[in-house]
Point group: D3
Chain length 292, copies 6
């Protein structure tokens, strides 16, 4: 069960409305690497966790924290779409965003053009479950596999992509209130990158999982000649110069080698003929007798 | 530019057709963590790469390799949907999959029921760009950010989730031809997990990027009190027992602390009133004068 | 069967082209609550209707009407993208939308920036089956369940969300031709909200369905203690002040009560261990013997 | 902010595993009208609420409750995919779901065929954010408009469609543990249908909103002749027999009338010619001079 | 405007219910190449048509016809999900589809496993706007470009893919009522393939459009050396043996040539360095001074 | 297998950055009719091809070529997002795109408003797998059916829609570098329209397939009265004036006729009553006895 506290995780008060930035701030809310994605990822990972209690509790903690981040961003976006406090109906019409398009002339075309139109038309000046291009959030943005190492690697990624995007957004605004909230999100992403890296180390220390994931698949069943070969698939061999082309592999079980001209199998992928009633094009015309 | 060799990366010959397994094998072809996802991920990462040549060449090599993996799986799926070579039209009708549903009675209902129906109706016994549930592949399954550490972390994840899924599939079939091909894929995923881990180490050794990503965002702009705190968001403190709750952080820049009862801000997220012509529900009835 | 009349349901002539408003007008055409959604909703509800003839005929009537609304909006959008009648090729190049981006300089950047680029590139100055953000219409926007009360409640919602959006659009334009057409749509939505409310009353009067939907599920099979309790899930009890927290329930079968501190069950959701060959992370390391 | 309690909202223990029913139970978890949809709907409605505090608090309460319903269903699905507690590795292989497909023969083809294959391959015997057909949840399934009456009507619909689906599922299983949990969900849906109906009554009593939504759009701007007309669009007039065809309208502002043969406007939707450089097909061939 | 006739385009009465075939029949209703796709394609092409009246009227005729095809298939699917007329409640429970899963034992697991579960749970034994895998219809399945030749080519394709799928379905059932309806659809697809081929001939005869589309783009602006070259991109030259590799081109304006070893440009796609505040990985470490 | 050459298919150097045009150029990269669509279409058609070797090789050649087109466009887009070479950090901040939004004032609002925000925030000034509205590419944009005539018709369409879109884009820019690359793409689309038309002729000459597709479905099983009738579905008979309404049909097997007032069947689509436990609305109230 989950309970709601009225306190926001961090204050979300912009200096002033900025509907174009509101559109951009949808990315960390509803984008591929936004807060809805991590919230749903962590909750589903936690609900399916069959590992030790400390992991499950930790995952649920951060899952609950992320719901609060969605809340914080949704609040900020709603405020970026607002006008200042109302003194007078007349004034409000002039100053408000809607006013800008209602006054006989489109005086602020650039603003209108740059907004997410659904912030007006659909949500009535509230946040939307979309990214900065307006794409609807979908569950293909999240991951939960039951294998904690595979999933914690996803989680490090999500916190890295997320911090990267928020850092870019930080440079696109001068609003001190917005920047303050972004600096909080950036700090939490610093924590969460570290947290998942620490959790990965712990999983390995606890003997639960290691590279290659899944570690309890019996490695003798692999086609072992291919397990540590770098296969060059282009002209030029710049790719030979990296640590992935020679020396011991990070899992400590192999030695990298570089194959400059990899060959394939002798199988050329030719397919057999099938029942003509599938109506695919065959290698030779179908005799009339078969057409019935 | 890209050129095609007729050799398959690995032989793709099943012992016998198995349309239900053909459906399941769509997951590593067209699923969230399938070969189309890594192919597109690596190609886009390579095409946008502004880093050193060895990285770009390496990314393009593996991108080209993955196109060949899609080809190998597509061939296997087409063959799992085929009947044996044709001697006789009469026989084919009996033995083929379509025959099973055409002979007056549905003799093999379980097979028909368990297939992906689009393998008949849409692709005519060929592979489809879908996952094992039939969901169409979409570009929300791939990632390319311009930041190589953020992206290489995604790549380690993709190779981990991918190897996990293929290992599960390995246990769902007894077909020796299929298992042989899967053992090749598992070996390549072993290589690729190691490759991306090595590339991450190289990026750090080259001084290009480190934790937290992005590493050249000035950390003094973070809201630093929050950068290394674990915030408990549930009853119980099992989450305190992990390496993420105390001790030095993996980035070497902080010390984890555990906050058992985290508080939020004093901001309760209340929103201001907006122009009544947005027609949202206000805190008080709108005076008649404003309704025009 | 359906037949087409060349008369538009209502005239769709703007005073002048306005490509930015054309983008916005896609919302009531192809958005979640646009005319395609209600057209498809009503048609599918009608085609699956097993209720009395008066309902089926009524649903089909409004379904057919809505196809005409899609037509009317598609025509308006095509006209908002047009230039004035052509006298002269030279002039047309200057005045037209394409001209604006072809004349050596981008003289009207705001307009170009604010348009839906697919109105140029994809549909060649025609309407698109998308919303105002450019999201493609999909069938997750419609509903048909076979239960008329559940569906008529959806229909009231659709006409409410639709009228709300069109009213907002009304305030974003000064074009008298556009406003006239919008005032027709608003009027029809007034009718349709009333129509579905009347239909709900009729369903109840006819003894076919009532609250709670579905009304012929035997209510003694409910976990009855939970049927009329309001469960507070947050600090503070403002939610106690509403009509949903005490007094008789609208279905006439219960009495609301307010539970300030709801408890859950004693089940904490712990999961059992599963076959190690699923490769999920277990509570304890898998003994070597099981790894095969 | 949100906090997690380890108690499930209701116990979620099936009598025995049933992987086919696990697939079906995805519908109320991740389908169009499932718990993720209502959870996200209520949270976004609450975060954007500019109405009185009692509404906002009430919406947040039920939003938090619904997160717990997602949790409860996710737990039940994970358990429906499990085998009984493990005594012996040998036995587990025989009894488990994975064992069924690994033992040399596919002894339970119908079960394998009827499962959601991603419950094996992707989530490793955990719940997925999908519906019973495997479609990924997306944000087009939720709604938040800023207008509480429009949104509460959606909420009544969601609780009606949801209760309908769960009632259907109740009849598809004999598992007493599953039925007990479903009877709890059905009871909560009874409450929630009543709750939103009561909230609609309260909104009207508070003078905040009424039919037609949005009620503060000045009705004199409607094209009033069309506001209360039922327009017959088919042969036959069975649709005349309902309460929507004559008598006072539910909003108390009009009188229904029935138009048997509605005419349209004189506008036939003809479009003007546009710049030939758009390359649409014109009414007459383009003179050579324009081709440049 | 559109009007509804109660007559179905063709009778839609199966000999008996068949819920598995009902799932398969969703493909021509709601799949990529199903009737919803052609209905929406033709309607949007018609509404945006700026060509001669005979084309627009013809497109609208077939658009209206296709709405009737959707209706016919929706009716057939609803009937394939039904039991026979009811004599007795007791019996109905035994014979009906729902009965099969309610009677204490799952006596017909294969049928239950092979159905689309949403035909039970969501639509209550009615058709759904989905394909045979359960994917929701979306507007990416339709096309309207404003250029009639480009669009008529799409239309020929749609009628070809459609007839192919229906022919496959014809071979998957023995139900004479279903086959009769399918033979009607196949006949209409024969007509429509011919119709669009005739329309293409007419467009060319009318001087409105020809190959290459769009024909009024001045061909001297093409990079002409590439306009008629076949570029071999693989080992082997089997592709030289076709009519696309030598001889006059179908547009009558060129001569095909075969390039066995095509070279590319001297541009190797290297990218420049960008502002470090974008946080992409650069070719060299960013000096400390830039990190602010 | 596939191998990468570092040469781009054609040079991709714009005269200068243009972020708004970069957004528009996403359409031919990642739109419904963009290069990803044709690349995936041709690769899947090739991998499933059971026809003669010359066809399979030809399809694979063009499939490989199209991967190179995606690469070329991705490079161009990345360059359109770049600033000029860097002399000086200070300057770069002023001149760069990011600089425009960082300098205290938003000096170039129109540019910022008109860009795809994900070009900043998500891809860090690289191309994205999306169309010009930001919709993610999905596999519903491609086609492979196993029947080469059905598929080659799709391919002609794709090259026609593609050339049309690129021709429109050509008129929206004055950048000579961009125009040069577009003129190469237009030339290749000229070739490819011709190529697929030639391939269609070859298929027919080889006796493998003809109109109507699929040609080996026995035409005596069609409902033949409907095979060559044009059915008028609207008022007015302008549609009678085309070559589709009389004369011989293009397949040489029929004679078109025009049916001015087509009738339907006597079936009115009425549905039977079903088990009340499906909870659909019946024609008459359900007796109490059935409610259990």
């Amino acid at each position: 069960m989950f309970f709601h506290s009225k306190q926001l995780a961090f204050q979300s008060k912009p200096d002033k409305p900025d509907p174009i930035f509101a559109k951009m701030l949808q990315e960390p809310l509803g984008g591929q690497w936004g807060e809805i994605s991590v919230m749903m990822t962590y909750l589903f990972q936690g609900w399916s966790c069959r590992g030790p209690a400390k992991y499950k509790d930790m995952i649920m903690d951060i899952g609950a924290e992320e719901i609060g981040h969605v809340e914080m961003l949704a609040t900020m976006i709603a405020r970026l779409l607002e006008t200042s406090p109302i003194d007078d109906q007349e004034d409000m019409a002039k100053n408000s965003i809607v006013g800008a398009v209602m006054g006989g002339a489109r005086v602020e075309d650039a603003i209108v053009a740059g907004m997410n139109p659904q912030h007006y038309i659909v949500s009535g000046l509230g946040a939307r479950p979309v990214d900065s291009s307006g794409n609807l959030w979908n569950a293909g943005f999240m991951t939960a596999s039951g294998n904690l190492l595979a999933d914690f690697r996803f989680n490090v990624t999500a916190e890295s992509q997320g911090r990267l995007q928020v850092a870019r957004l930080y440079n696109m605004t001068n609003d001190s209130g917005v920047r303050e909230m972004l600096s909080f999100l950036i700090a939490r992403d610093t924590m969460h990158q570290n947290q998942w890296l620490a959790a990965i180390a712990e999983l390995e220390a606890d003997g639960l999982e290691t590279t290659p994931v899944p570690s309890n698949f019996p490695q003798e069943r692999e086609h072992s000649p291919a397990s540590y070969q770098f296969l060059n698939h282009s002209e030029g061999t710049e790719s030979r110069e990296g640590g992935w082309a020679e020396g011991p592999s990070p899992d400590g079980r192999g030695e990298f080698s570089y194959v400059e001209n990899p060959g394939g199998s002798s199988d050329t992928g030719d397919l057999s003929q099938v029942d003509p009633r599938v109506y695919g094009t065959p290698a030779m015309p179908v005799p009339a007798a078969a057409k019935k």
